[in-house]
């Protein structure tokens, strides 16, 4: 298990940014060949991304590549160039229904076989960014074992629905719920969309807290300055972590003594609360906290 709180977008045609990807502190980076690249530079971005994946040492930083959609002339060339280089995942934009995943899966399988890689080596992060995609979330999530995450694409979704993104983001409540529930049901990760106004860190923090509370694994960042804010939002409350530690300690003690019922801080604690406490402790440890404090 690794921390996947933040996923920093980096334009595929910006080598200066890609070579510094590791210094921004993001848990993952995503080299973007799609919306961040002008139509006339698609070939150049693909060559740059391939060059970095082939020759550059990103250490243990997971590098995801967002390719262009299947409805573009770049889709196949992107897959051909990127899949053999085994990125952490390929992000597949504009997934509307399972057939989109299955089509990419078939192409990726061919490419992996040709490259001598085991079939299924490269995971897919399926991006849901239309009303239809959101409604088909679970079917997309379970279309192929390659799908390891669902990601919400907020910009395209608002365009598809003919609505505006608000600061409160309540218009995404249903879509987020749907995405995160489908991902949990399928046993995969869920990543939230970007906060586009990087001059509004307070709005980003508030929205990040919301998605943490909803159960998302992580959130996309479009600017390095957003990474620390997202991480702060994902950090569990120190008091809650200490309480979770008391619960787990009391539960272990009760188990040793053969008692079924546990009381912590004068309150009865049962199974789901213990499970939740253990989960919180593992998240705190994953996010670099010890004894409820940030390391």
């Amino acid at each position: 298990m690794r921390a996947m709180r933040s996923m920093l977008y980096i334009p595929g045609n910006a080598p200066g940014m890609i070579q510094n990807a590791a210094i921004f502190g993001a848990d993952m980076v995503m080299i973007d060949l799609e919306d961040a690249v002008a139509l006339v530079e698609k070939d150049a971005a693909r060559d740059i991304a391939s060059g970095f994946l082939r020759h550059y040492d990103f250490g243990d930083l997971p590098v995801i590549v967002r390719i262009n959609g299947a409805d573009t002339p770049f889709f196949d060339a992107d897959l051909q160039a990127i899949v053999p280089l085994r990125p952490f995942a390929v992000r597949l934009p504009k997934c509307q229904d399972p057939s989109d995943v299955l089509m990419a899966d078939a192409r990726m399988t061919e490419i992996e076989k040709r490259a001598g890689l085991p079939v299924g080596t490269v995971p897919v992060h399926a991006m849901l960014e239309s009303a239809r995609g959101i409604e088909n979330a679970y079917a997309v999530a379970t279309a192929s074992p390659r799908v390891r995450a669902l990601t919400l694409g907020g910009q395209d979704l608002t365009a598809d629905m003919g609505i505006q993104k608000t600061r409160d983001g309540w218009e995404f409540f249903y879509a987020r719920s749907r995405v995160v529930m489908a991902a949990k049901a399928a046993g995969i990760d869920a990543f939230d969309t970007v906060w586009t106004d990087f001059n509004d860190p307070e709005g980003l923090f508030r929205e990040s807290r919301q998605v943490v509370e909803m159960g998302f694994t992580g959130k996309a960042a479009i600017h390095p300055s957003q990474v620390a804010i997202i991480h702060r939002a994902f950090r569990p409350d120190a008091k809650e972590v200490r309480k979770a530690e008391r619960i787990v300690a009391a539960a272990s003690e009760a188990e040793r003594q053969g008692r079924g019922v546990v009381a912590v801080d004068g309150k009865m604690v049962d199974g789901p609360i213990i499970v939740r406490a253990r989960h919180l402790i593992s998240l705190a440890s994953l996010y670099g906290m010890e004894g409820g404090e940030a390391r």
Partner: protein, 89 residues
């Protein structure tokens, strides 16, 4: 054998990038410009030779304005420029 059909250009003049231009010429030649010219001249010359051979093209004048690009970036930009120059309309 690839054929240089037109001028091909790729890259930018931003920091850590380079601008590569390829045009058809009588003989292969390299004009490598930038602050790293002395330090990386020989490495870049080899890189260009190797890439032209891989693309099976000759008679190419290559100009590289290096803004502190990594070797892999110069290679990628040269590949893009060559692919653009070779591509049938």
């Amino acid at each position: 054998m690839g054929l240089i059909r037109r001028m091909g250009q790729a890259g930018t003049l931003e920091s850590a990038d380079c601008l590569v231009t390829v045009v058809r010429a009588e003989n292969d030649s390299l004009d490598y410009r930038g602050g790293n010219r002395k330090l990386f001249g020989e490495r870049t010359r080899k890189l260009v030779q190797e890439t032209l051979a891989r693309f099976q093209v000759s008679g190419v004048q290559v100009t590289i304005q290096d803004q502190g690009a990594l070797e892999l970036v110069i290679r990628a930009r040269l590949e893009t420029a060559l692919a653009r120059a070779i591509k049938e309309a």
